[in-house]
């Protein structure tokens, strides 16, 4: 392969190390630690595994994790009421509602119960607008993590033609808006796109966010392009890695690329929320 690796593991580790120092510095000023509350509904094993991983990372950097587990049969009203309590609880800096909630829970209503100032996972309408219009607010964690990765590796975005493959609520759509706010030319492709190959092969930067392993053939990638693969189905990427890595200038591995950056972004935003809410520099 000729591409250089956008190393999410190493970058996330460096961010977490910086956060350890930052949290310790802030705590000395306030006597408090940032608090991230996670609401999880039901007992989906994958969700509990993710939450456990987040809790461990929180502890590692000095963020206090709080976990609220609600029964699988909870109504929308019950979940909304728990989220509201956290929104009003002055000790809480960030609120994360673990996705997916059981089918009877209206996720949109639950998300909108999150105080936008505590929406460190970037799921509210207010956060969407903040991303679109580059205003103060928080980013959806996965696209936010990808932007951080681009930043750390000095990937130029302005004026470059970027393709986002996928248009989900907390990945594809905010991803495109964040790139647009950084002056990229942005094309959204998706399941109804005609001739995906044609679009991909023209792009300077490809963000794959479809969750369909192998959807993007390696030889579609333009020579010298940048590839960020947020594929998440069965831990396999959307992009055929080996062939793509022979053509790209930069590429994320799966796993070890986008995945660890998502948690890093979440924790970084939790600390940022703590700083803002306490008026700290």
């Amino acid at each position: 392969m000729s591409a250089q690796i956008l190393d999410g593991n190493a970058t996330a580790k460096a961010i977490l190390n910086d956060l350890i120092a930052e949290v310790s510095r802030l705590s000395e000023q306030t006597g408090k630690r940032p608090v991230l509350a996670t609401v999880i509904v039901g007992d989906d094993p994958a969700s509990h595994t993710y939450v456990k991983m987040k809790v461990n990372r929180c502890r590692k950097v000095g963020i206090e994790p709080r976990q609220i587990t609600l029964p699988a049969e909870s109504s929308t009203e019950q979940v909304v009421s728990e989220v509201r309590k956290l929104s009003e609880d002055d000790s809480v800096d960030g609120i994360l509602v673990q996705h997916p909630a059981p089918a009877q829970v209206d996720e949109k209503q639950v998300f909108e119960a999150i105080d936008p100032d505590k929406d460190v996972d970037g799921v509210t309408a207010g956060s969407l607008a903040a991303m679109a219009f580059k205003e103060q607010g928080f980013r959806s964690a996965t696209p936010g993590g990808i932007m951080r990765l681009f930043e750390e590796y000095g990937i130029e975005l302005a004026g470059r033609h970027t393709i986002v493959v996928g248009r989900s609520r907390i990945l594809g759509i905010p991803m495109g808006l964040l790139l647009l706010a950084e002056n990229a030319t942005v094309t959204y492709c998706h399941s109804k796109t005609v001739d995906l190959k044609d679009h991909v092969s023209q792009a300077d930067i490809v963000v794959a966010a479809a969750g369909q392993p192998g959807l993007i053939a390696g030889d579609w990638i333009k020579t010298g392009a940048v590839v960020a693969d947020a594929g998440y189905a069965d831990n396999a990427g959307d992009v055929e890695f080996d062939v793509a890595a022979d053509r790209a200038a930069w590429i994320t591995p799966v796993p070890g690329g986008v995945g660890p950056m998502t948690i890093a972004c979440l924790l970084e935003q939790t600390v940022e929320s703590h700083r803002r809410r306490h008026g700290l520099d």
Copy 2:
């Protein structure tokens, strides 16, 4: 020219005629008429002309216009307070804050004081999310008007490659999200885009929303494409009309294309708000 005209004047007129009948039908059920409140800050003559035009159209279809004029030196807090009153006033169905407000007024704060259920001009974060995720809510009036024009002329959007030139808060950005929600492949181009010509010449549908007369040369348009020109600078379009009209299959004139559709969309959404708020079919 070979293109057929996307006639905004005729389409808007037909929509307004339908609204006359609809408002009369609704009023018979409720004894009430839909109310659109407009807040205008200062005495910019162009803004007052626009508002006057909107007031006249309201009266024509049977919507009751209310106009709140605030002094040019109003603070953000004063404007927000007026908008809040309208949000809480049960007799008001729609709220429009005339753009632009004087520089000392924070438009974002003012917009967010609009009850999302009355945001018939589609300027709040909640409306942006509703457009992005195809949820119940209102569309920004100009992109909403363009979508209505496409609908009325049966312009197919799904799977087609659409370019939006421009990325403003209430025009370019929501336009792209609305097209994406209708399954178009969407490219956002803007002032930082490299080789705009290349992008435009590939598009099946071009929405010009830059406000730069003549930015898009007519011979960039692909044969058989659809062109909607939301150009608004000095009443001149972004697209070189004569040459474009020889190549396109459908094109909007300027004036008489997108402009009248903006008001039609605003009034249609005001009536829709009245229907929803009173639980009417």
